[in-house]
Subunit: 266 residues, 2 copies
DNA sequence: AGTTAATATGTAACATGTTAGATGTTATTG
DNA sequence: CAATAACATCTAACATGTTACATATTAACT
C-alpha cells in the first residue's frame, strides 16, 4: 500500500510558503489510517501513524528529490518550521532521517545542507540498486502470476501514454511504480521500502536527468523487455535486462556533471 | 533493564559542564571515540561528530543486538535518559534511528518496544544480505590484492584462536569484521555501512544463536573457503560460497523459534 | 602586512515544559 | 451481568527555552 500522506501540500521553498494545516488542523495531530476496522487495538494492528515529522519528512524529501531544494542549498530548520507551521522538533526529526538517508548533511553547530551529488556515492547506490533489483526480479520472474503480469502491463500502457504526451513527471512516477511492483512481486516483506530507500540518491539524479533525456521511448522499450522476461518466467533474461536497464544511467551522469558542476561535491 | 549503561559517573555531568572544554563528556564512561582533527575545518573534513544521540544510539543498539534488551521489552525513554544522564531529546533521536532500522517499534502515545523477531522480516533481511554480499564479494574477488588477502587471512587466524578458546563474543566480532573487510574490498564508498545496517536484524538473531550453536568450527571453514576464493580471484566460487554461508542460518532460526517463541512476533 | 587572539553570530545539540492520544480501570447504565 | 461511558494514567509527539560550538569578523600584536 502506498502511503498517500502530505502529497497535496504543494511545497515550494524560498518563495511560496507551503501550508501544513494550522496547529490543530485536520492533518494536525496524528491521523491514523484506519484499516480493516476490527476491534483490534492500535498496537495490535499495524497502523502506522502519520505524525507531523512524517509529513515534514515527506515534504522535504519530495522537495529534495525534485531539486526544488538544490544540492548544496542550506536548510534553515527554524524557517522550515515557520513555513510549515510546526515547531522545530518535527523538522529536526525529519531532517535527521534525511541525513541517515544521505539526502542532507548536518554539520553540528554550523548548518544543514542539501547533500551535493557525489559520484562515488552514486556509484555505490547504483551497485546496491543493481544487486537488490536483479535479485528481486529473479524471484519475481520465478513466482510471477497472470495477475501480476497484467498489472505490470497496465503500468506499461500508462507509461506509453505518458511518453506520447511527453509527460516527464508522469512517466517518472510510473517508472518508480513499476520498479516498486517488481519488488513487491518478489514477495518479501518490506523489500520495496528497503529498495526505495537505497534508491534515494539515484532518484534525485534521474529527476535531474529527466529533462535532458530524450530517452523516454528507449526506457519504455527496456521496461517492456523486463516485463516480457517476467511474463515468460525467464529468470536470467529478466535479471540481465534489469541490470542493463539500471546501468544506462552512468554516462548521462557524467554529462550532467560537466553541465552543472555546482551540483556535485569535491 | 539496562545494566551496562548506568555503570558509573552520572555525577560528572550535571555540574562540571561549564568548566570542561570537552563538554561532550563520556556517557556512562563508554565510547567517546574522538577522531583526531587535522588542520582542516570541521566542515571540510568529513569528521562525523560524536554527539550524545550517537552515543545513546550505539549503547542502545548494542544492548538490543546483544539481547540485553530482549525482544518485546519496553523501552522507557525517560528512564533511559535518567540512567544515561542525558535529557530525553538525544534518547528520542537515537530511538527514532533504531526504529528506522527496524530494531525498535514506536507506538505513538503508547510506548516504545524492542522489536520482536519476525520471520518474514528476517527472511527479507537474509535476502538483502545475500544480494548485497554476493555482489560485493564478486567485486572483491575481481580486485583482490595481496595486501587485502593478507588481512583477511590474519582475521582468519584470529578466528581460529577465538574458536579454539571457545570465545563466542570474540569470534562473533571477528566474523563481522571479516564481512566488513570484504565489503571494503569491493572498493565502493559507504557500502560497508549500508550492508551493516541491513544486517541489523540478522546480527541480532546470530547473537541469539551464538550460544546454541556448536557451529563455530564449521563457520570458520566456510570463511576459509570464502577467503580462498577471493585469494584465487574465483569470482563465481566466492559468490557461491558466500551465499551458501549466509544461507546456513535458516534452519537454526526455526529451532530458535520453537525454543523461545516469546522472542517472536505474530 | 601577516599572524594570532578576542569577539560576534548563527545553528545544531541539548534540556525541559506541554499536549494529545492510546489504553486500562472503574463507574454507570440497560 | 454485560456493555459502555467516564475517568485516570502513561507515553510519545510536539513546543520552546538554553547551551555549546563552528565559523566569520574584527582587533591586537609582532
Amino acid at each position: 500500500m502506498l502511503d498517500v500522506i502530505g502529497q497535496e501540500s504543494n511545497a515550494s521553498f524560498g518563495e511560496i510558503e507551503f501550508s501544513l494545516p494550522p496547529a490543530t488542523g485536520p492533518i494536525g495531530g496524528t491521523l491514523n489510517v484506519q484499516l480493516g476496522s476490527g476491534g483490534k487495538s492500535f498496537r495490535e494492528q499495524k497502523v502506522v501513524a502519520v505524525t507531523r515529522k512524517d509529513q515534514v519528512y515527506s515534504i522535504l524529501r519530495q522537495a529534495i528529490i525534485s531539486s526544488q531544494l538544490a544540492p548544496g542549498e542550506a536548510i534553515r530548520k527554524e524557517l522550515v518550521a515557520l513555513q510549515l507551521g510546526v515547531s522545530r522538533t518535527p523538522v529536526s526529526d525529519a531532517i535527521n532521517r534525511l541525513a541517515d538517508e544521505g539526502l542532507v548533511e548536518i554539520y553540528p553547530q554550523t548548518g544543514t545542507f542539501v547533500a551535493r551529488l557525489r559520484l562515488d556515492k552514486i556509484e555505490t547506490a547504483q551497485f546496491v540498486r543493481i544487486a537488490l533489483e536483479t535479485a528481486a526480479i529473479r524471484r519475481a520472474a520465478e513466482r510471477s502470476s497472470a495477475e501480476i503480469v497484467q498489472r505490470l502491463r497496465d503500468n506499461l500502457d500508462r507509461q506509453r501514454k505518458a511518453a506520447d504526451s511527453r509527460d516527464f513527471e508522469g512517466f517518472y512516477a510510473l517508472d518508480e511504480e513499476l520498479h516498486d511492483m517488481i519488488c513487491d512481486a518478489a514477495g518479501l516483506a518490506g523489500l520495496r521500502e528497503i529498495a526505495a530507500k537505497e534508491r534515494s540518491q539515484i532518484d534525485r539524479v534521474r529527476r535531474l536527468l529527466l529533462h535532458y533525456e530524450t530517452r523516454m521511448v528507449e526506457t519504455l522499450k527496456e521496461h517492456q523487455t523486463i516485463v516480457d522476461a517476467i511474463a515468460g518466467s525467464s529468470v536470467e533474461r529478466a535479471a540481465a535486462a534489469m541490470e542493463e536497464h539500471i546501468s544506462k544511467m552512468g554516462k548521462m551522469l557524467l554529462q550532467l556533471q560537466s553541465k552543472r558542476p555546482e551540483l556535485f561535491a569535491e
